[in-house]
């Protein structure tokens, strides 16, 4: 343990750099993926005929192994192989693919009786979506978002296998030197990032769904 | 026979679901547990097959303590029917019904054959055997649930609101068929419902429970209607008690008018000729009543027409001569001519009766009942004279 601390302090500067890269690689794709998945998920929900192709397509995207995507994107996008942008794009694709289905299913899961009541009260379609369906679907979408966020964080390190620079470099160093301290530092940092990110999303869900707290408190 | 001996169920947080329940459900009869939400009726039922264990007291099944038998063995000897059927979605209807026989180790072919028999018995088309529960309607699923409970021919059946989840028309059909089935099979049945009308219709004996799990009254339905034990039972049993009680009084030998009838196909003129007032009863070739023909103010040209079904008034209900006073009164009240049509058990015309005749019989009977009650309250024991006032109930 002591060795790990020492290693951490000795390499503070690099670690700080790498942490920065890792953080934006963690947050940005999830945010963009979410934003992209909302309209597409809504489409799949709204037009029943589009549900199977959209969901299958998303499923297919999710099936592509991460490493493969990291490797193929330079060829497709023309980016350099070591550019972290490949990772960002790949993770965005994953988040999107995972959430599209969850958004569609989340919207589907709102009880028809609730929607009928909303319509009868005079809500327009858009208002029903925004004021009734989405809020009710928030817990489920939020749960999916947490899964996406946490999985993505752990995927970032995989990019070190082909040399992309971020906190995963600690693992590479650890292997190269045959010692555990760098690896342990890396593991701890990744897990901390994942946990904090997860907690932040959870907090967001709580803030958006005050009625659930009331129910739980009964 | 199933006997509750001071059975209590108390939960760790202090709620008492069943409080010192003592009653005996007779063999081969339907005993109904009825009461408002929270009265412990379902809890009591589920203590019989030990889905819930009593906190104190014991339940005897034909002089064997249920606590002494292994629960799964106990349950294999009891049919269990619940509100939403609880069919296994992953098995075909036939395999669902055959579940308990297979559990008991019966041969697969035999079990399936028996299952097929039972499906017919509960009124389901044999084509349903290969289908899956998701493809059946609620009423159909309930029938399968009953068939499944009967498959191993258990002497006891436990039923928890089995007909509550279907619409009223289907419910009435299911209730009637259930009574017919019980008439054939004679099982010892404990039946839970929140619907007092269902309890009165189906039960041989009815136990009314109040919130907190205490027994308020345990009696045959007629007694519940005529002598509720306390205000709670009176309120729970509801209004129209006197009228509903007539449903338990046999019509007996009502004096019938043997009025003349006219068959379908005869000319309207014939109907008018025999009519004693504005209405004539029309029957079919088997003398089964078809409806009333209004002959009062017909123009002459209508008299040469043939009597066809579309000319008839179908307003009156039919009462069987072996039926109840309530049915007879209803026949008279609902008939357009004021005369109720009474039929034999096979549906053939027996005669007509007016409302006043039925009422006269009702009052006779009521007088007998009152006299009995006075004697019972007075505690006098009198020998029963064969045709005297004490010879009633």
């Amino acid at each position: 343990m002591g060795d790990a601390w020492n290693y951490f302090f000795d390499h503070r500067a690099e670690i700080q750099d790498w942490t920065g890269t890792t953080l934006w690689l963690a947050v940005l794709p999830v945010a963009i993926g979410l934003v992209l998945s909302l309209p597409v998920g809504w489409l799949a929900y709204r037009y029943r005929w589009s549900y199977p192709p959209i969901i299958s397509g998303a499923g297919l995207l999710y099936t592509i192994p991460s490493l493969v995507l990291f490797v193929s994107l330079p060829g497709l996008l023309g980016t350099k192989i070591l550019d972290p942008i490949n990772v960002a794009v790949a993770l965005t694709v994953y988040t999107f693919a995972l959430l599209v289905r969850i958004v569609a299913d989340g919207l589907l899961s709102v009880a028809p009786a609730t929607l009928d009541a909303a319509a009868a009260m005079g809500y327009t379609t858009f208002q029903r979506l925004v004021k009734v369906q989405l809020p009710i679907a928030v817990p489920v979408i939020g749960a999916g978002l947490r899964v996406a966020a946490v999985s993505n964080v752990s995927l970032i390190s995989v990019a070190s296998a082909i040399g992309v620079t971020q906190l995963g470099n600690l693992f590479v160093e650890g292997f190269r030197q045959g010692r555990t301290p760098p690896t342990i530092v890396g593991l701890v940092l990744f897990i901390v990032i994942a946990v904090v990110f997860d907690a932040a999303i959870l907090l967001g869900i709580r803030l958006l769904t005050p009625w659930r707290r009331a129910v739980a408190a009964r | 026979m199933i006997r509750f001996e001071s059975v209590t169920k108390r939960y760790p947080d202090g709620t008492v679901a069943v409080d010192e329940l003592t009653l005996e459900a007779p063999s081969r009869e339907i005993t109904v547990l009825v009461g408002p939400s929270g009265c412990g009726k379902t809890t009591s039922l589920r203590m019989i097959n030990r889905m819930i264990e009593p906190t104190s007291g014991r339940i005897m099944l034909d002089d064997r303590d249920t606590a002494a038998v292994k629960p799964s063995d106990l349950r294999r000897g009891m049919g269990y029917v619940i509100q939403h059927a609880g069919l296994f979605p992953h098995r075909t209807i036939l395999d669902n019904v055959a579940t308990v026989p297979l559990l008991l180790g019966q041969d697969k072919k035999q079990a399936r054959a028996r299952a097929a028999e039972l499906l017919e018995r509960v009124g389901l088309d044999p084509a349903f055997a290969k289908r899956y529960p998701a493809q059946l309607s609620g009423g159909q699923q309930q029938r399968v649930g009953v068939a499944r409970a009967l498959a191993a021919d258990p002497p006891v059946m436990l039923m928890d609101e089995p007909f509550s989840a279907v619409d009223p028309v289907v419910r009435e059909q299911l209730q009637d068929e259930f009574l017919r089935l019980q008439h054939d099979l004679g099982k010892t049945i404990v039946f839970v419902t929140h619907d007092i009308d269902e309890a009165i219709k189906l039960g041989d004996k009815v136990a009314v429970l109040r919130v907190g799990g205490k027994l308020a009254q345990f009696a045959p339905p007629a007694e519940l209607l005529s002598r509720p034990a306390d205000p709670f039972v009176a309120g729970f049993v509801g209004r129209d008690r006197g009228y509903r009680a007539l449903g338990f009084a046999e019509a007996g030998q009502l004096p019938l008018n043997d009025e003349k009838t006219v068959p379908l196909g005869d000319k309207v003129r014939a109907a008018k000729d025999i009519a004693q007032d504005d209405w004539t009863l029309v029957v079919d070739a088997d003398t089964k009543p078809q409806g009333w023909l209004a002959v009062g103010r017909l123009p002459d040209r209508a008299l040469d027409a043939e009597i066809t079904p579309d000319l008839l008034n179908l307003g009156g209900t039919l009462a069987s001569e072996s039926g109840t006073l309530r049915a007879a009164l209803d026949a008279a009240l609902s008939s357009p001519s004021g005369r109720g049509v009474i039929v034999h058990d096979d549906g053939r015309y027996a005669g007509t009766v007016t409302a006043s005749r039925v009422l006269a019989r009702i009052e006779e009977r009521a007088a007998k009942v009152r006299a009995d009650a006075v004697h019972a309250a007075g505690g006098e024991h009198r020998d029963v004279a064969p045709d005297g006032i004490g010879g009633g109930r």
Partner: protein, 278 residues
């Protein structure tokens, strides 16, 4: 989308080199060829999923049936998801190879000297495959119609019989979905495991290729070709498992009605959401 030919803007050999790579028979056969690597990849995947299923299925069924230990299960599943695979892989590899030096080999699986790394990879991959199987199995059992469960007990089935005859078959759709999910994860991560020396599988092309990236035979074209193969493998495996699912799951359960399968997916996430919420 730029289709660079030989040396495009990013300096890498272009996509047109990939068909050329596939057309070269020497890339297919031989001890380090596509065929051998694919076979290794499938073997590793199969072994891992089998082991993970052997652990996670009984656990998930037990927790679902008894309702106890749910916190632990969900916590475990969530926690495992947060672990960076490469990090754990390397940690274990370093630790095990320090304590176990051996020249043994397992035919088809690992060559001489690779056993410590193989063990490390196996452990990490199994840990990775556990969460989807665990959560799906648990949710599957939880989702069984409570009336069916009550009726089963009421008919006299013992606890174990209820599990075997009712809960397990009714949970199968979700269990299969969990197994498919796990298989996809594993196929993807076996490629990453090739970071460790001696390990086979299609990842070998990718990892080794990243060192000689400009080489036309062993560099980027090989990486892409292997990548495509892995992706194909994943798609085929998923299709195969979905066929198995169709055979194994009772027709009475097929959620043709997508509201029902939507509700099932929601059920898994909801289960986690509710519990992690508390």
């Amino acid at each position: 989308m730029k289709m660079s030919v030989v040396a495009g803007g990013n300096g890498l050999p272009g996509l047109d080199r990939v068909p050329i790579w596939f057309n070269d028979p020497s890339n297919w056969w031989g001890p380090d060829g596509l065929v051998v690597r694919t076979r290794e990849h499938l073997l590793y995947t199969g072994t891992v999923v089998l082991v993970a299923a052997l652990i996670a299925l009984p656990l998930g069924l037990l927790v679902g049936h008894t309702g106890r230990g749910v916190f632990v299960l969900v916590g475990l599943a969530n926690g495992l998801r947060a672990v960076p695979t490469l990090g754990l892989l390397i940690l274990l590899a370093v630790w095990i190879s320090d304590h176990l030096q051996t020249k043994t080999d397992i035919p088809y699986f690992i060559r001489a000297g690779g056993l410590p790394y193989f063990i490390a990879a196996l452990i990490v991959l199994v840990l990775l495959a556990l969460p989807p199987i665990l959560t799906n199995t648990y949710a599957g059992v939880q989702n069984v119609d409570p009336a069916a469960r009550d009726a089963a007990r009421g008919m006299g089935m013992t606890g174990f019989q209820v599990l075997r005859k009712v809960e397990f078959p009714c949970a199968l759709p979700l269990i299969m979905s969990g197994l498919r999910s796990a298989t996809l994860q594993v196929i993807a991560t076996v490629a990453v495991a090739a970071y460790l020396p001696f390990l086979g599988g299609l990842g070998r092309f990718i990892i080794d290729g990243s060192q000689v990236i400009l080489d036309l035979k062993y560099g980027y074209p090989a990486m892409l070709a292997a990548g495509i193969t892995v992706a194909l493998l994943a798609v085929l495996a998923d299709a195969a498992l979905s066929l198995v699912q169709r055979y194994v799951v009772s027709p009475g359960l097929s959620g043709r009605n997508s509201k029902r399968s939507a509700r099932r997916q929601i059920a898994i996430l909801d289960a986690e959401a509710q519990l992690a919420d508390a």
